[in-house]
């Protein structure tokens, strides 16, 4: 099952990019390091302090304000965005659209916004292994390549293992700061939080787009059933009672709440994308979610 990212989405993606610019980058906003006397881009002024370099005093401003002001510069740093797209078997589930379809559309939107912001974009997929289908890309001219690749992708057979994927990601990508956007259903909540820990500790600033299927809690009805775990392929012939369903609902809610609590605790931008919501609304919400830098 391939995702259904279309090329006629470009005008809509352009509108999303505009919306992201208006809200200071939205979920992809990054910290602007203000280093006096460092960097090349003028970022502002401040009062002169003893020890400042005389050469940084802006005499025109001093003349206007009648006080000493020094220029402040920011370092122009490359912004690197990595989209970590969950391609495990569980992403093939979901109604009315598959989780992977929504995830691919969100990845397309985020990728386009990142390219619009002149960021270096890399698309990675993970399940029980990490793959890099395309990247790094730079400039909006590569948006077509990104969309083509996303249209080709499909969920695989493996299970979700964000921790292992994050470890491999951190091991092979050393260097400057990067933004990692995890787009996943976060099937294994504890392992997913551990994966986010690995990303944080590796110096990445993770963002989380949680693909949420609200019908997941009601997909099993009481009775004799054959339960198939799509990630492991295991089949169990079981009898489900209402007590089981109640317990399942509680555990599922707990599992779904765990990543949100984690993200709140560590100030990781988190947005929940519900399969039951209109796609445009989900994309707007994802794009406009403010990171702490926005």
């Amino acid at each position: 099952m391939a995702s259904t990212v279309r090329f006629d989405d470009l005008p809509r993606l352009e509108r999303l990019a505009l919306a992201a610019r208006r809200c200071g980058g939205g979920i992809l906003a990054q910290a602007a390091p203000r280093l006096p006397c460092g960097g090349t881009e003028l970022s502002g002024y401040r009062d002169y302090a003893a020890g400042d370099d005389y050469r940084q005093i802006d005499w025109s401003v001093c003349a206007r304000h009648d006080e000493l002001r020094v220029r402040q510069f920011a370092v122009q740093r490359d912004c690197r965005v990595h989209l970590l797209l969950d391609a495990s078997a569980s992403m093939g589930l979901g109604t009315p659209v598959a989780r992977f379809t929504l995830a691919a559309r969100i990845a397309a939107a985020l990728g386009y916004v990142a390219l619009d912001q002149q960021a270096e974009l890399t698309l990675l997929t993970f399940s029980d292994r990490l793959e890099q289908p395309i990247g790094p890309l730079r400039g909006k001219g590569r948006a077509g390549a990104l969309l083509r690749e996303l249209a080709r992708l499909a969920p695989g057979r493996g299970g979700t293992n964000l921790r292992r994927a994050a470890e491999r990601f951190a091991r092979h990508r050393r260097g400057g700061p990067r933004h990692v956007v995890v787009i996943s259903d976060l099937g294994e909540a504890e392992a997913s939080c551990a994966g986010l820990d690995v990303l944080r500790l590796a110096g990445c600033s993770p963002r989380v787009v949680h693909i949420h299927d609200p019908r997941e809690a009601g997909e099993v009805a009481p009775g004799d059933l054959e339960l198939v775990d799509v990630e492991s392929g295991d089949l169990w012939q079981v009898t489900i009672t209402r007590a089981h369903l109640r317990r399942y609902g509680e555990l599922l809610a707990e599992q779904r709440e765990l990543p949100r609590r984690y993200c709140r605790k560590w100030r990781v931008p988190y947005v929940r994308a519900g399969l039951d919501l209109p796609e445009q609304r989900v994309l707007q919400e994802v794009i406009r979610t403010r990171s702490r830098f926005a």
Binding site: L93, E219, G223, D224, E226, V228, W236, H244, Q255
Partner: protein
Amino acid sequence: MIAPAMILIRPAALLWGLAAAAIVLVYLRAIRPGRVEVATGRLWLRILGEPRTSARLWRRRRVRSAAIHMAILGLIVFAAADPCWNRPRTVVLLIDNSLDTAAPGGQANRLDQAKQAAQSVIRSLGEREHGVVISTAGAAVLVCGRQQDRNRLAAAVDRLTAVARPSRMRQAVRVAAELAAPATRLEIHAIGPQYSAGTEQDVRETGRPAGSLGPADQPRARRVAPLWPWAVCTAMLLLALEWFSYHRRWTC
């Protein structure tokens, strides 16, 4: 195993039932419970515990449920075959109405006495039992064909009049031997002065079973008990139990 005293009025229903049972068995074997794909297998493992235990119980329950359903089907088929305790009778009344029976014999003439005896036999007919009335004067005449309606049989007996011809009892016995309804026991009652040991011999020669011969003085009442209501009630009870256990299983 059907008890010897039990008779199936419509045994052909068993064949249809066997065919239905075969179809149901194939169906029960073919149908499988719904298959649900989940992404939360580990959660279910935490809830259900060891899945093999559940699978064993699941199979046991399915076998038990299939057995109960087959039992219900068997009972319905059994009811459709119309089982009865005591095989019902086909009572053939051979009434001698030759002219000599019009002669007085005591207070009433002999024909009236024969009619009274015949009415007594007719009154003893129970549920699912048939009666036939044959007059024997001149030739064996079927006065009233195989009939369960006792009023019609009684009316046919009342209509009999003496005929100035000799009695043909032997011929009547042969005709009577062919008149048994399916799954019933033939009883030939030869009523009249012509009854003799020879008549009994005639009946035996037909190879048909005879419950009673001769002018039945006071035929014993036979009670034919249909068993289908019991079979249907048992099937309903099993169905209710299965339904109750099915719903209780999910709601507990």
